[in-house]
Symmetry: C2
Subunit: 273 residues, 2 copies
């Protein structure tokens, strides 16, 4: 389960706190996929307060790619609702620092960059629904192949908010028709982590010409008896961020998520009503 | 809404009781589609007690094509749980009478055929979920075209029970991919009326070679930007009945359903848990 993570010790990282402390110590600097199984992980976007209101509105207008789990107050680096003892400046394996839309650094902590006007956005991650799919017996191709999920820029524009605009990015998982129906049913139960697919079967309608050439991640085979199924993807806010070119931003590095104390099952729609 | 019904008066048939009494008087002898909108309609299968246990088990093993709404006690012609003042011998527009698997008559009442050993099976009907799809803004092709839904015998065998066996019959409704996803979500909420689709997108996997040649009902166009979506169909028990050739059986005539007093919304899964 930890094959993709870069770690220098052999301690099992079974609890969310284990993972966060390994990050804080500098022992974990790679991917978090499969770690602390059963707990939700989150995408991270940090912006100055001056950009935060617009980005918040962008997320509200685009809940499928940008389902907000929590937003911190300016200067606050403890995401209390998701993990009361966490520190967003140190508890992710690796970060990306952006200046005017350009990637300038990939540090393993951001303590020296923290400012009193920074706002952290924690956005739901598909790992939660992938666990639910697997628990229901549905094979998730890229997990079985041990590679990253294939992701595609689409011809569908997100609803813009101020400077934040850009195309919807989708992730693709192939399923047989009957499994695709089950996948719709299962992921509909998890609106906080992208929810139901936005499309299936006819990729050309999304402006996707070649399933073998994803814009991000790795290509996976789609068999003749399968349909490609597309979900709104948490990479969307990152590409939107790059297009909007805010003066300063910090995100997680790809695959290096924030591990929360929230059990996956707590994100079921039935628990949230 | 009543264009398909054969009626000799102009009384609006807005309540379930209106419809049933029009049948009882002999004023309504045609289809019930669109009548008493908002109330569930049911497929009817009547069998001697000697065949009823096996047929009941067949329905239990095949809940997608045969979702049982109610089963009466032997000799009982009032389906009290679905309509306390109804009489199953007179309150459907038209019946079919079967002897050894052969259709021998299509009467408008079955009073003279009723026996103390007859058991009535009332099986959920897709009219309920079609209303829900339309209420959600999804276009239902055959309703828009004013024709019958296309139905296909598949290569999928039902789970047999004693003499009752045969292929699953499916109905097909075309939708764009995003509407197909919504249709899965909506119909998943109605397990008592066939529930979620069983297949979509790849008809050849069901042994369906030509969507333009349905085995029952009427062909409808599937546009290039649409996927065919397949639901288990209430015609399945009728074809199974014909294959099993019980000595005696009565069913509703196609489209001439039993109109219950149960509001469609009462069949939502959330109301039944």
């Amino acid at each position: 389960m930890t094959a993709n993570s870069t770690r220098t010790d052999a301690t099992p990282l079974q609890t969310p706190r284990d993972v966060r402390l390994a990050c804080r110590r500098g022992d974990l600097t790679g991917q978090t996929s499969g770690l602390a199984a059963g707990f939700a992980q989150a995408n991270l976007v940090i912006l100055p307060e001056s950009d935060a209101v617009e980005f918040s509105e962008f997320c509200r207008r685009n809940p499928k790619p940008c389902p907000l789990l929590d937003v911190t107050a300016p200067g606050e680096f403890i995401p209390r609702r998701l993990a009361s003892d966490a520190d967003l400046r140190m508890d992710l394996p690796r970060y990306r620092v952006w200046k005017d839309g350009e990637l300038i650094d990939e540090p393993t902590d951001i303590c020296s960059l923290w400012r009193d006007d920074l706002v952290a956005f924690l956005i739901g991650c598909s790992f939660t629904f992938e666990s639910a799919l697997q628990n229901a017996g549905l094979p998730v191709r890229h997990v079985e192949l041990g590679c990253n999920v294939p992701m595609f820029r689409t011809s569908v524009e997100c609803e813009p908010a101020g400077k934040f605009h850009g195309p919807l990015v989708v992730s693709m998982r192939p399923f047989t028709p009957s499994d695709a129906i089950k996948a719709v049913q299962i992921t509909s139960q998890f609106p906080a982590v992208h929810g139901a697919p936005i499309h299936l079967g006819l990729p050309e309608q999304l402006g996707i010409r070649d399933l073998n050439s994803p814009d991000f991640g790795d290509a996976v085979p789609v068999c003749a008896d399968e349909l490609p199924v597309f979900w709104a993807c948490g990479v969307t806010p990152q590409t939107v961020l790059m297009s909007a070119r805010p003066s300063f931003a910090i995100t997680h590095a790809p695959g290096c998520m924030f591990v929360t104390d929230v059990p996956d099952v707590e994100l079921l729609v039935s628990r949230r009503e």
